[in-house]
């Protein structure tokens, strides 16, 4: 299998989907410059640079999606989504419903986020949960190059608006990527490692921290299962619930603010639907309720690291809960 970075896996997905479907087009702030191979293959009409105007980029994608195109837009960094919030949330997310199902909005919005480049809070802000909370949208955040390709292909084919978050810290990490038509359905989690004592659920780069934590836990005699959500909406709760039914313990981990983050929803659903299988309280590890600092050690301190995840899991396994 070819080895690609996550960034190049995104390019591979775009290339394959643009070949497959002439209604797919890509535009955004510098996409034609940075992905010039797309311009060479598909021409300057299908791959366009845009003015620095996130609102009109998103609005144009919404209008185009409703009337026959499948746009993929690149809005660079997730905090810039604030300028496109109206078009994504109020138009793309709502107008299908408000029109009684007359329209659909097959569009994909790409945005980078997360620790890794020390860019600070106006470039790094894990805002995924905002969009999970907004009806009509789907939300995806892959942790591997292969998933980035397979999920992006599925997102482009989906008839709904999809927010596709790229973790900055993973962008240039290489990985095996199938050069086949392998799409990954949105809403399917992946069990990255099997275990029977505790379930670690995460998405994005903290999946890798969970895997490192699982190694540490194994050395201490604790068997951890690691679930990578991949899609935050739809959320694959059956996979999470099946894992918790097996292990009886749950640690939810993400880089985004813990307060009202996706982990809170997962913890709530597990408490509602799998209370009887829980042998310990649910633990949540997430970023603090603070903007992300640019300084490297502070940026790293924001992210749940393997040692903290292992310690949390071990506490759940060692303590007695009457």
């Amino acid at each position: 299998m070819p080895i690609l970075t996550l960034y190049d896996a995104v390019g591979a997905a775009l290339t394959e989907e643009m070949r497959r479907d002439r209604t797919v087009m890509a535009f955004g702030e510098g996409i034609a410059t940075k992905r010039h191979e797309l311009v060479s293959e598909f021409g300057a009409l299908r791959v366009r640079n845009t003015p620095l105007a996130e609102g009109i980029i998103a609005g144009t994608a919404v209008g185009a999606a409703a009337t026959g195109l499948r746009p993929v837009i690149d809005l660079l960094f997730a905090p810039f989504l604030c300028y496109a919030m109206d078009e994504l949330v109020n138009s793309a997310g709502k107008l299908r419903y408000m029109s009684g199902g007359q329209w659909s909005f097959p569009l994909v919005t790409l945005a980078m986020t997360g620790a890794g480049w020390g860019v600070g809070a106006q470039h790094n802000h894990n805002v995924e949960a905002w969009f999970v909370h907004s009806p009509g949208l789907k939300v995806v955040m892959p942790s591997t190059p292969a998933d980035a390709k397979g999920l992006l292909k599925a997102a482009i084919r989906d008839d709904n608006p999809v927010l596709f978050f790229l973790d900055i810290g993973l962008l240039h990490e290489p990985g095996e990527v199938p050069d086949t038509e392998a799409t990954i359905p949105l809403g399917t989690a992946a069990v990255r490692r099997e275990g029977h004592d505790v379930t670690l659920v995460s998405y994005g780069k903290t999946v890798h921290n969970c895997l490192r934590a699982a190694d540490e836990l194994a050395a201490a005699g604790v068997s951890a299962e690691v679930v990578d959500l991949r899609s935050l909406k739809p959320l694959d709760m059956p996979t999470v619930l099946a894992s918790v039914a097996k292990t009886g313990r749950l640690v939810v981990v993400h880089e985004a603010n813990r307060l009202c983050g996706v982990g809170a929803e997962i913890a709530a659903v597990v408490a509602e639907e799998a209370f009887a299988s829980l042998k310990a309280p649910i633990a949540r590890l997430g970023g603090p309720d603070a903007p992300v600092a640019a300084s490297y050690p502070l940026e790293q301190a924001f992210v749940p690291q393997a040692a903290a995840i292992a310690a949390a899991a071990e506490r759940l396994c060692r303590r007695q809960y009457a």
């Binding site: 009109i56 195109l69 109020n90 408000m98 009684g100």
Partner: protein
């Protein structure tokens, strides 16, 4: 420029304006009686809607805003289904999900309606982009208010449409009000069309209460968008004579300004003209009014009889 525009019978324009007025008045009465939710009516602005919409071809697509009844009715929407929508009934064009503020009618090419002021401006370039990328016929007409022109999206939309050569006819219905703020308090320029010039977009400001003038300007504008494939901005000066929404006592409105516009009521202007030049008799005029009243009665009967949506359809159509 070629002036071979189709001949349009002015009495048909009058009938459409009468229908819009009667529809809006039915809503006014219904909301006063507590039977119909209040809306943002287009009373006083009928000529703008009728003049522009009658210049369009069947394949043209329309985006509009919260004050859309005139655009929809002039495009041929059924007043019964519109009223049912306003009343939240299943028989409405959007199954009661929209209410008055977001009505879209795909079968009439009324594609997207935004009550987020400026939302329609943000989506218009994309609708035009799909025309040009897919080689589909038709231009895009985007109705918006002078208030929307003060949103950043107006400027972003014009810049992109000019930059990417998109066939959008921007129609600003400048009714002098942005909810409870007069345009003089909000605009750095006298006219919205002044702004178009800075994007290299041809623009014209016209009297929006003279339906024949609106029609002629809109025919020229649509022709120019069609042949050039580029945007054009038409600013239609008119007045929102019943206030922002029902009910609105308009205590904040300058009496003289309102009176001056009421004296130039678009329906009276055309009706008087047609009677004066002998193309219509007073009884012909009355017959039109009767015909329209009958349609509105039937619309009310349809809407009243249409059931409310069933609560088990609450989450239908969120996702495709």
């Amino acid at each position: 420029m070629a002036q071979n525009f189709p001949q349009i019978d002015p009495s048909m324009l009058l009938e459409q304006m009468l229908l819009i007025r009667a529809y809006e008045e039915a809503i006014v009465a219904g909301s006063a009686a507590g039977a119909v939710p209040g809306t943002c009516t287009s009373v006083g602005q009928e000529a703008a809607a009728v003049g522009v919409v009658n210049a369009l071809a069947a394949e043209d697509l329309i985006l509009t805003n919260h004050r859309s009844a005139g655009h929809l009715l002039a495009r041929g929407a059924d007043p019964g289904r519109l009223l049912a929508e306003v009343m939240g009934r299943e028989g409405g064009y959007c199954g009661g999900r929209s209410g008055s503020l977001h009505i879209a009618v795909k079968e009439l090419g009324v594609v997207l309606t935004s009550t987020i002021v400026g939302g329609e401006l943000a989506m218009a370039p994309g609708v035009a982009l799909s025309r040009s990328m897919l080689g589909l016929p038709g231009i895009v007409v985007c109705f918006f208010g002078d208030g929307a022109a003060c949103e950043g999206r107006f400027h972003e939309s014009l810049n992109l449409a000019a930059l990417w050569n998109l066939p959008v006819l921007y129609v600003c219905e400048n009714n002098h009000w942005q909810a409870f703020v007069h345009r003089r308090e909000a605009m750095s320029r006298e006219h919205v069309s002044d702004w178009a010039a800075s994007y290299g977009i041809p623009a014209q400001t016209i009297d929006g209460n003279d339906v024949l003038a609106v029609l002629a300007a809109a025919q020229t504008a649509t022709e120019q968008v069609r042949t050039s494939g580029r945007p054009y901005l038409l600013e239609v000066l008119t007045y929102r004579t019943r206030g922002h929404f029902e009910p609105d006592d308009q205590a904040y409105v300058d009496r003289e300004e309102l009176a001056a516009w009421l004296a130039r009521d678009p329906i009276k202007l055309l009706g008087d003209r047609l009677v004066a030049d002998g193309s219509m008799t007073a009884s012909g005029h009355a017959r039109l009014a009767d015909k329209v009243a009958t349609r509105i009665c039937a619309a009310h009967a349809f809407a009243d009889a249409s059931p409310y949506p069933n609560a088990d359809t609450l989450t239908r159509d969120v996702y495709a």
